[in-house]
Symmetry: C2
Subunit: 383 residues, 2 copies
């Protein structure tokens, strides 16, 4: 297997972008990444998208979007893995370069969620859960997370304040991110007293709905120096899966898929969590972030609240989490999220993250999950 | 790159299977393929499906279906490439084994089209065409094919009878195929005088709508002998793309994506079309089959009608086309079709195709396209 580097990054600002379409968003991200990489000739495109079929009445989007992005004639493949579609595309593209199948690969993610064909975004996002045993019975993705949050609060004696502090931190970070959908700070009062969505989850515990696209250019590390002044290497990659239906799992307070993916990625990268300088994780809801930080080995089970209080994950702390603002405040255009996470870590490791720069960052991790952890991807990058 | 062999095949009969679900169909096909292969331990699953989101309100299906098929814990990836999703999954799985990324891989395709959430199957199938420049203006997939068929008939002075003869042949073949959705013969009178769908296309020029799943087990050729008495090698693989929107192409009577994919596959296999013993091609409509046979190099442009009259493609002819009955009569469960095509060729090359066996078949080709040839996959197999 060859070593693989990222030599280009492109992103659109996330938002309710009624003047942008699926194709215009994706084209902008790809053009940005290609320009950033120095315009190498591209051998293949891997594209992460969850639901252009339901959101935009458009399938067959690999062929469509490669054509509109100026990559006509390039073999293009669409990967769907729910909310983890972006990282799934990265993982497949990474393997293609590592194995020698392709040299220069664009990996992109896009989701156009506003102005949809059906305008029923909550139903569509819940199609990442099981339609026969969960959604059919009225259990949506937020419903699963709400049950888990209540169980977590009872098991570890944690109050809603601790979750609210996480959301406040995410908005603090996003306020420094020009790509963020919600680039403003919120108060603890606002976080605590926002409208309930599914108790104990309130609005400020939830990632927003938005449109966006992000793209990366990958190539063998040995070629990277010709194209980028600061190539960033992918030193670890892991993919884990769990039983699909929530109630069939053994442990409701741990994401097995994330534990498995992290173990594989850490082993490959030959590092421990303590050696990371930052991470971008999947905080669809604040409870998802809590479980994830524990399952990635950042802290022990039940210890996230205390870690937040001690400043562990703050932008100026020992291990900043989601300097971008995370899904909560940077935004969560579903199939693009995994690519946004990696784009952020690349900018951080290049020292190009502006006001949200983590000083001296050399090693970063991304974690993107599908559904409530039906599958999970962990990538580790080094400058 | 390692040589890759197919060591297992599984299929369900195609039909209006109201008692089967997306997951039950897929599980049956995978279990069949694993049993046929001698139950090796599987390293990865690649799954082709066009539109579980629109048909079944279910996304995130790689994690879902791997769990239900008994492959929980196996990294699973869903590939969507419209009507070409099945071959796209094969192509990705083939590359994964050839490159050394994985050893034992299941490639499956599934589509559950009946009993859908919306019951608007024509609209959903048209989402493989462009929603902004084609579908929005009322141009469906059958509409594009109808315009091309009329142009073809005028350009090459071909009558509807020639297309009807193709459909009659497909039903003849399907009548010998226990997996076929429409396993009965039709008369020339029935083919000619079926209801018009979009003139000059009549019902008997069209593939039916149906449910089905098919699966294959792939592994390095060097390991294949331990698992299968008759491993079938993939000796050629090609992937071509064209401009997505029909009216932006230079030639309306040729599928550039198929020509490109075929050139790549023939070169890799080091054979010419004349050396093939059979082929399974993508006859969504009879006109699609005509263009495809020409673009695959079977005959010159405009010469298919004469070739059919001379018996070239008959089951007992020099180069049988679609011994399975093709999309027309075996059926076209969209995301599974490419896998059904390859499963048929594997059975033929093993000599296990029963009443539809092509005697002494050693080399076969499959061609699966997306939309009206936005992308195209060609694979060549040898016993």
């Amino acid at each position: 297997m060859r070593k693989v580097a990222i030599i280009g990054v492109g992103m659109t600002k996330i938002g309710h972008l009624f003047s942008e379409s699926l194709r215009s968003l994706f084209s902008k991200a790809v053009r940005g990444a290609l320009e950033d990489a120095g315009s190498p000739k591209i051998d293949a495109l891997y594209l992460g998208n969850m639901s252009a079929g339901q959101f935009n009445n458009q399938e067959n989007i690999a062929a469509l979007l490669s054509d509109f992005a100026g990559l006509n004639g390039t073999p293009a493949t669409r990967i769907e893995e729910g909310c983890g579609s972006g990282a799934a595309a990265i993982y497949t593209g990474y393997k293609a370069v590592a194995s020698g199948t392709h040299d220069f690969v664009v990996v992109g993610g896009v989701e156009k969620m506003m102005d949809t064909a059906t305008n029923d975004t909550t139903s569509i996002t819940s199609t990442v859960t099981d339609q026969e045993y969960e959604a059919f019975l009225g259990l949506s993705l937020v419903g699963i997370n709400a049950m888990v949050m209540r169980l977590y609060m009872n098991t570890f004696e944690v109050e809603r304040e601790s979750f609210a502090k996480f959301s406040v931190q995410m908005h603090d970070n996003a306020s420094k991110n020009p790509y963020a959908q919600l680039p403003f700070k919120i108060s603890m009062d606002k976080a605590m007293n926002s409208d309930p969505v599914a108790e104990p989850i309130h609005l400020m515990d939830c990632a927003p709905i938005g449109d966006g696209a992000a793209a990366l250019v990958l190539c063998p590390k040995e070629y990277a120096k010709n194209f980028a002044s600061s190539p960033i290497e992918i030193i670890g990659a892991g993919h884990g899966t769990d039983h699909f239906i929530f109630h069939t799992r053994n442990d409701f307070l741990s994401l097995k898929a994330t534990r498995d993916a992290a173990r594989e990625a850490y082993r490959m990268a030959e590092i421990t969590p303590g050696q990371l300088d930052l991470m971008e994780i999947h905080d669809t809801f604040s409870i998802t972030a809590f479980l994830t930080m524990e399952d990635l080995g950042l802290v022990e089970k039940g210890a996230v609240a205390q870690a937040i209080d001690e400043g562990l994950i703050s932008l100026d702390g020992p291990l900043p989490v989601n300097p971008s603002g995370g899904l909560k405040a940077r935004g969560h255009p579903i199939g693009a999220t995994g690519v946004y996470q990696m784009a952020e870590v690349v900018l951080q490791l290049r020292g190009e993250a502006g006001a949200r720069q983590v000083p001296g960052a050399e090693t970063g991790l991304t974690n993107n999950i599908s559904g409530f952890g039906a599958s999970s991807f962990v990538h580790i990058l080094r400058s």
